[in-house]
Symmetry: C2
């Protein structure tokens, strides 16, 4: 089977009927939570994980729970096991694109550590119990095809996994690399003077949810007086960026000697900035002064806030992303070259969104009050 | 925190009140499927996995989907990545024991390949959405403690994972070893004349389900005229064997030069015998002539069949096991020594249950019509 073109597929949109499903079949109705928004809140999680007595720091080149991937010195000299897992629920209706996004999202945790070669992937699948057999077969086949095409693009293979029945459609994977220590970026070396680069705009949760409002005709669109065509456009934009591998961004971390990096997912831009800032060896704070946002998503958040809502806490950097970009700290000079080269490889922009400063109080990361909001149009 | 004694814990039984839960709190009510019984049926799975175009055979020392763990030659000479994942639903009410069982069940897939050193574990957790916060914290803490104690016993560490909200409580893990090729048993070398050894009795699904009938007071106990105390005893027996690591069984595969091995889980004794027999290099059939069954579970299955039921297809070898024993093919002489040494290490018996013969027709594995049923009393 030849790989399906990801971008063409997104632009076409998903017609359930073409694939043998009912006209009104909606994948995302098979779950009540979406993508990385399904994560158990960070504070709850940390409390529950106390059993492991983990410091959430880097010791002797070993990274435990708390960063993107765990990194484990092996019994074999110079080698490290780098490993990550993620699973979540459908947030787009095309099972093929959902497979792509799931695979890209799992791989992203390796890429965040600069590890660009994945040695193996496992696929995790919970098949929704209220699907009939025909629906199940169609959806699972499309999902697997998408997952596999993304794995092929990443030059890795899927060689195991588990499939169970579950009330919700559950999608995930495990990515593993046995890497030489030199293949792994040390992510704890940010210094004052570094700048922060982000490789995909934020606003994914707003894009996915506003598209849901459209589909569900729940009155939200009218209530907030939103532009339907702009929402549809933003949805395609987020599908493209969620299914885009962060692999080039990872490879360039080495070339431009990045000092720290992570990927932006369920805890939002600021949540992941905090996680990364906390493990730095130097006494630093990450200060974000620019927010690149998927076009029109800032307007939606603004209107929600005007109506007394929280606007997904987008401007606070707490809005969940799924398969978001890398957040990288590197020298200012390297940053410009990093962005230029990445943009030409991925045909999509990246931005300097802040800087690393000396830590002056308890804050490890913050978004300044007058942060510039930049509306990012789709590269499609 | 010191490790909890697994056997004492099982013998005590689980009192929800002691742990701050309501008296009538029943963990297994958080899901409609149990343990490895939740697997998507094998034929459906194989059909769906066709996208991967996998042969389910062993090529160039690489094991893909189809056996217990995948085995992948690495970029580093002599080294293999051995990896497995599993997740399922609670089938016992003590979250601590459930953590033990989950960890033992995942590790078992490494042990089935003779790999006794696990380099890393990831923990997968879906937290049931209809738990309140207090219930959630109690259950998750107990579960993690059990998972960790089992990992400690296995001399490995948990260094990552994912936690999501899910309608059902979902429990699982990933076990990974970067092993030298000599640490891995070649599992495709069974020859006619070998005998088959099983290291834990079957009947787990019967034990877990009949115990559910007791708890749910659904009339099944009366209908089948069953002995409550025998069911309670069998339940403790199955808890003990599900939470018992197959690690000693794995180590001894090397010492006694096993020719083939797998672990018995969701597809039942015969299902896994078939999977293993299919990948053998020689033209062999696995013939099972003895069925060691947890005490009283054969009687329950018999009564169900008398009443027109299927008796979980126990005597056909199709009844699901969770964290079941290893099924091993080795020379007759080695088998006796293997059993003796394993029994003394694990304080639990093992049995020769059949033999490897030359294949004469399409059958790769079968249970003979007059197979001897052996009732296995608890080693507790």
């Amino acid at each position: 089977m030849t790989a399906i073109n990801r971008v063409e597929r997104i632009m076409e949109g998903f017609d359930p009927k073409i694939h043998g499903l009912d006209e009104d079949f909606v994948l995302t109705k098979l779950t009540k939570m979406k993508g990385c928004g399904c994560k158990v809140p960070r504070d709850v999680l940390l409390q529950l994980l106390q059993t492991f007595k983990t410091d959430l720091v880097i010791n002797n080149d070993e990274v435990d729970i708390g960063l993107d991937s765990c990194v484990i010195p092996l019994r074999h000299p110079g080698l490290r096991l780098v490993q990550t897992t993620d699973f979540f629920y459908p947030l787009v209706d095309d099972p093929y694109i959902m497979g792509r996004v799931t695979c890209a999202n799992v791989l992203s945790d390796l890429y965040a550590m600069g590890v660009s070669e994945c040695d193996n992937m496992l696929m995790l699948l919970g098949v929704a119990v209220d699907l009939n057999e025909s629906q199940r077969d169609i959806i699972v086949r499309l999902f697997i095809q998408g997952f596999k095409d993304a794995a092929d693009e990443a030059e890795t293979k899927i060689r195991g996994g588990q499939t169970v029945r579950c009330p919700w459609l559950l999608l995930g994977g495990v990515a593993t690399s046995v890497a030489h220590e030199t293949e792994i970026i040390k992510v704890d070396r940010a210094v004052p003077g570094d700048v922060l680069v982000l490789t995909k705009p934020i606003g994914g949760q707003v894009a996915v949810n506003s598209y849901e409002w459209l589909k569900n005709k729940n009155g939200k669109i009218e209530e907030l007086n939103l532009d339907e065509s702009k929402i549809r456009k933003a949805f395609k934009q987020v599908c493209e960026q969620m299914s885009r591998l962060n692999r080039n961004a990872a490879k360039l971390l080495h070339k431009y000697e990045a000092h720290a990096s992570t990927d932006v997912t369920g805890f939002g831009l600021l949540g992941h900035a905090e996680n990364l800032a906390r493990v730095q060896k130097e006494n630093v704070e990450f200060v974000i002064d620019k927010l690149p946002i998927i076009e029109y998503m800032d307007e939606i958040a603004d209107r929600m806030i005007e109506n007394g809502g929280e606007g997904f806490r987008l401007f606070e950097g707490r809005s969940a992303e799924t398969s978001g970009g890398l957040l990288v700290a590197l020298s200012e000079r390297s940053a410009k070259a990093y962005i230029d080269e990445l943009s030409s490889l991925d045909h999509a922009p990246a931005w300097i969104i802040g800087r690393v400063v000396e830590k002056s109080d308890d804050s490890v990361a913050r978004i300044v009050g007058d942060a510039i909001r930049q509306s990012i149009i789709s590269p499609l």
